[in-house]
Symmetry: C2
């Protein structure tokens, strides 16, 4: 693989990910940790449950009293969660017990309230036999003091937060997030706050890229627009190279007015590739200076966003130690034929609709790489393999899911009756 | 449907969503809007492209000069993006042009640089015929001044941000987020910052619920732990009813020590149901006071999180105007049999692994509703329908995807060669 050649998407991804440093570790409060990657093994600091507890609202009994298939027992005690019962339940006795409350000494089973009857305030009638241990959660069943309950490298999901709170970790060690800078380059660009000029192009890439980065939980720095002036460009790129990751959109084509690549090289950046067989996505370059990563993304808004998804997003996630760097891909059926000339892997902006057989995928229309509206409408990116000669209507296809499609319009349970 | 009866999951979802008010509208800066729902139709404020522009780095030509299948033309002009060429391209002339640069008067087509040769500095040889309009992006092709380019109700994804920046919307109208309060109830609970007491249960639900709410982009208020004291409980619930949505976990069972339900009713909350045929998830209650929503969630950590996913999450998303309130469900193949007694819809915590045939789903083990570790390990919730008599190994199954599984371990493109 020659580093200057026209790489496949997979080769380019591999080249990028080889260069991603480990971002290091920091300690943060539990409440700020969702979405971060755990950087330590976490051990239980107690047995849980701390003692045998009831799994039901009901009555704690001695199973030996019920071997004949039922009995009428004397209510000797009332135990709720948080109580610490000392009294021993004797033969013929039982205790009213709440879910989560400690099973009193003497009792060895719980019978749920629905399976009992109370002929008087002090008498409980039970008509079923019960085995020792019934509806009891044993001490240490969930976790034992000293056990590793969470492993370094896990993503901190709400479930992981639940475990961290259970072992009382008010602060946790997590992988650091990268600091990311965004520079947009081009004389034709008009800033969001600049006066309206009908002949210029509004600067949108910086905002779209920022939103893609925010979706990874990272707050990027937008350094602004670099005009096609070598000194201005060098100044802003030098500033960008102070960050862990620098994204430059636009200005990296092979054309005569391109200053980005030579300026990056003059600033000590080693370029690893500047051609990937991806559509849209030309031209896309990647370089490093020490542990700093630099992505020169295309100026076309769609190309820029598609390249972000394939190369930058996975790099940011690997930096943060994420075990899952790549967008989820789902199988879907094509609603219509898709034309393709072999050579480059193509990412077609598509919508997904669920039907009886699964997911149906259709183009958003308007696939021009300058048409940002196609990204606004897209649920996903249909992957057309580089060697494909086109896909037929009804064919199986693979679709990368974009932000927002973790959720669906319809409930799985709608129209259910009880 | 009797409001007090044992509702199916679908009936309970429908009952909750009927009660969700529209959260109203606010104006926020573009940079803070990702993930919010657009509350206005957005129109283009210009034609885009603003004029005919080149889709390629190449040469702007008069197609009439190339009708014979090629020509050698004189380079008359050099145009880069942001320029405003005035000179008319005459017969036999061409202009060097960059991607995105305006097509000069006289020219009606672009030919890409790869299809040309320059025998001298001033001569360009073109060997192909070219049609009028070739590789030109026509004025207004992406959007025309005044067109609606984004519709109210869309989720603000990175692609939508790109369009908003394109039409220079520095501020946008979005649907308001709900203010959400969390109360944990129970004498047995030990606060995160309280001294270690081996016989108490650490309070984890409030943190796990907070993380589930944060995953919806909402920063909740944790009001703390209410002990089983009627006045203390009433005080904290009264405070919670100032919020749009109040979550109370624990203390809502049918047991004798339950104060939550009567206290909510005494505070003017109308309870719509307090029994759902869901496992884990008992007891789960839902009520309203005016437009305020109250969810009394189970005290068991897993039950609490599962009920959140089915009822609270969709309600929060509907409040925010989200067109997609429900977790994405995927088809997967069961790695092992799952036992089930007909009656309640069961949500089994599972992992998902991709294999050649699609997704393979397996239990995380340890399905006790007190076992928060099962939620920490889960990629999704396997849905066992209420009327199921069990699922066989190898059977098709449906799985709700949880947070964190929008991404995968392996790249679709790994091992590709160029």
């Amino acid at each position: 693989m020659n580093s200057h050649s026209n790489l496949s998407v997979g080769e380019a991804q591999a080249r990028v990910l080889q260069c991603v440093p480990s971002g290091g570790i920091e300690e943060i409060p539990l409440e700020r940790s969702p979405g971060r990657m755990l950087a330590e093994d976490v051990r239980a600091n107690r047995d849980l449950p701390p003692c045998d507890v009831s799994a039901m609202d009901g009555f704690a009994v001695r199973s030996a009293d019920l071997t004949c298939g039922g009995a009428v027992l004397t209510l000797a005690l009332d135990i709720k969660a948080g109580d610490r019962p000392q009294k021993v339940i004797a033969a013929g006795e039982c205790a009213r017990i709440m879910t989560g409350a400690p099973v009193p000494p003497g009792a060895d089973a719980v019978i749920r309230v629905e399976d009992t009857r109370m002929p008087s305030d002090r008498r409980v009638e039970i008509t079923l036999p019960v085995k020792a241990g019934n509806d009891i959660r044993a001490r240490g069943e969930v976790m034992k003091n000293g056990d590793v309950v969470l492993a370094a490298g896990m993503e901190i999901t709400p479930g992981v937060i639940g475990v961290l709170a259970t072992v009382k970790r008010a602060r946790v060690l997590v992988r650091r997030r990268p600091r990311v800078a965004i520079v947009s380059s081009g004389n034709e660009l008009e800033a969001l706050d600049a006066p309206f000029d009908p002949e210029r192009i509004p600067e949108s890439n910086g905002y779209a890229l920022a939103a893609q980065i925010q979706a990874q939980g990272i707050e990027p720095a937008r350094l602004g627009i670099a005009r096609d002036d070598p000194r201005e460009l060098a100044d802003i790129l030098r500033q960008g190279l102070e960050y862990d990751v620098l994204l430059v959109s636009g200005g990296s084509s092979v054309g005569a007015h391109d200053h980005v690549r030579p300026t990056l090289e003059a600033l000590g950046v080693t370029l690893h590739f500047w051609c990937v067989k991806i559509k849209p996505g030309h031209p896309m370059a990647f370089g490093t200076r020490g542990e700093r990563l630099v992505f020169a993304l295309p100026g076309n808004p769609v190309s820029s966003m598609v390249c972000f998804e394939q190369f930058v997003g996975p790099a940011l996630r690997v930096f943060m130690g994420h075990p899952r760097p790549f967008r989820r891909v789902v199988a879907a059926t094509l609603a219509h034929a898709v034309r393709h000339r072999p050579g480059r892997t193509e990412f077609v902006r598509v919508t997904l609709r669920r039907n009886a057989d699964g997911l149906r995928v259709a183009s958003t229309g308007m696939q021009g790489s300058g048409n940002i509206c196609s990204m606004a409408l897209a649920d996903g990116l249909l992957i057309v393999p580089a060697d494909s000669e086109g896909l037929a209507a009804g064919a199986a296809a693979r679709v990368q899911l974009l932000d927002g499609v973790g959720f669906e319009e319809a409930s799985e349970f709608m129209g259910e009756s009880s």
